[in-house]
Symmetry: C2
Subunit: 401 residues, 2 copies
Amino acid sequence: MLIVQKYGGTSVGDLERIGHVARKIAAAQDAGNDLVVVVSAMSGETNKLIDYAHHFSPAPSRREMDILLSSGERVTASLLAIALQEMGYPAVAMTGRQAGIRTDDTHMFARIEEINTEAMRNHVNQGRIVVVAGFQGIDQQGNVTTLGRGGSDLSAVAIAGALGADVCEIYSDVDGIYTTDPRIEPHAKKLDRISYDEMLELASLGAKVLQSRSVELAKKMGVTIIARSSFSDAEGTIISEEVAGMEAVLVSGIALDKNQARVSLRDVVDRPGVAAEIFNTLAAEQINVDMIIQNASNDGTTNLGFTVPQSELEQARAVIEGFGEEIGSVDFDEKIAKVSVVGVGMKSHSGVAAAAFSVMAENNINIEMISTSEIKVSMVIDEKFGELAVRVLHETYRLDQ
Amino acid sequence: MLIVQKYGGTSVGDLERIGHVARKIAAAQDAGNDLVVVVSAMSGETNKLIDYAHHFSPAPSRREMDILLSSGERVTASLLAIALQEMGYPAVAMTGRQAGIRTDDTHMFARIEEINTEAMRNHVNQGRIVVVAGFQGIDQQGNVTTLGRGGSDLSAVAIAGALGADVCEIYSDVDGIYTTDPRIEPHAKKLDRISYDEMLELASLGAKVLQSRSVELAKKMGVTIIARSSFSDAEGTIISEEVAGMEAVLVSGIALDKNQARVSLRDVVDRPGVAAEIFNTLAAEQINVDMIIQNASNDGTTNLGFTVPQSELEQARAVIEGFGEEIGSVDFDEKIAKVSVVGVGMKSHSGVAAAAFSVMAENNINIEMISTSEIKVSMVIDEKFGELAVRVLHETYRLDQ
């Protein structure tokens, strides 16, 4: 098998951890696999470099930041290759450029445009373990670029896709994706398998493990991901296309998001296009609107509700106030929680949403907003009931079994 | 003027020092100069990375070491560019590769083969201060290479030569080249000017400031160097071709080298080629022979003496013992010092060597070996007289005036 492995910052957090990772890689090669390994910077390094830059400027030039930040992954990649060589395993370190990773020129948030895999393939064909500095590439002009937070996951998935690897193993300090946050519900169970779409809907559960951007790319390129821990030998969670049998599982997980705020507009003048105007203006201000609901009232006005990240609420407030008398009254609420029930089984089974609404009612939790997709039911509720809602929903769908 | 400035590790040793260097650079631009700045890693960083690598291997792969070690200069270059930008000065950081520095593929000791100055010139022509990560380049295959200890000096001199810069300023924590080591002779004086050849002969005086390789390259490319301190506004020492007036100065400096050992061979069989055979064998073992003297004796044998670095004495001993009975007796002495009197004035003035020998005799210092070049007289003496010899020679040639 050709395996792409990615080790995050805590997995290579110090020299002992790097040595441990080298032994894991060696074992995978001993088992007969070809290996390309992508590494992050040692934990703390990237933040240290950002602090250095902020000593000089509150908003340092992104082009220079990319030269600065890309150095951390190069250190880890070369040290890991040296460790493998010393153990008698042929290994070669490659920078993002050497690995053929070409991006657009959006410094600090670059997108991978193309991977020229020739050099990596040559090394693998000669039996070498390729160790790639993650998070980085170069643009068409040869400038160093970085891919943003979680960028090493993206590097790994993109490389796995370009090489046609059998699997992309993402190692962190968490051993997989859970049915819900174990700190909220101690009976949360690790999932053996989850689909890309479910994973995307459960982003708030897996964000520590895997960013949405990487899951989206894996889905697009058909890369099977295994999220697992470098601190244990546990099996981890497979993230892939839906496979036969997945639908037998009604619900995969319950996600809780407490970082949203609700904006409720009442008595909005009911002329055509007013909603479009409001949301276009919010989009133009780069405000991320999540849930939207609209109810026509019977007096020629309409009620409109939506959620935005709490950090963007003040911006949203300014936009709304700009609409003046077209909006009757406005209500902002930061004390909300969004609870989501996610599962591909919903596509073919009815009653999942109804069961959620019932259990909320039984527990006297008022649902303020509802939004659904093919595989998700999200409910906005009072913030203080967030954890309770997660626990009762977890029990309702028997996720602990 | 187009000025290339190079700042060493202590000059950019912490964030405050980097800020100080940014202000020095800004002042040079304010004075109407175009600037290309070459930087070392923050002091301690390169050693830290070497320690990391040695945690995994006593002899880490040089190719991987180059990816590792080149990261330190990239950090300094990007931070310095960010500092300049924040002060309102247009600046751009470049890695060795981006600055067009192409080397051979001798990892960790690469030689610069070519500099494609196009990108640097474009930036300078647009009024930008170019900040280059020193010590590094890439080979023809695109592998990262480094230039060895003192490599950032080489980067700076090579860039100055390739750009046709008016001057290359090398900043360190020492404010120039002195007539001798001020710790030995408190009356040592800073030289205003010295020729490349004198500087090369005085290597042991200037080694902390400037390595021989950089001086050789500067001589070859006709680059005028100014060695000065980033910790003061002192004028520094100009290192250039001999200029009119230089010959008026008989002696420029006195150098002391206590790291040599003497090997004396007595009663060597006097057949043709025996000396050549001995020195060829030493060379084949990579032993650096410095001074050589030979005296024919009158009984068909010859006496041969030479010096080698103390660190290579054991190797030299093995070579010599391999010659068996062709060599009568051998004597090794590590307790020697080499004192050198250097000055271009010697070319046209006689009596310099004689004055040295006289003052040594007056002070009862026995001279064990002598070797001379056009601009240098070197004497091997008992180690314990090293400092005394430096002081009396310094006074003899009135170097304190």
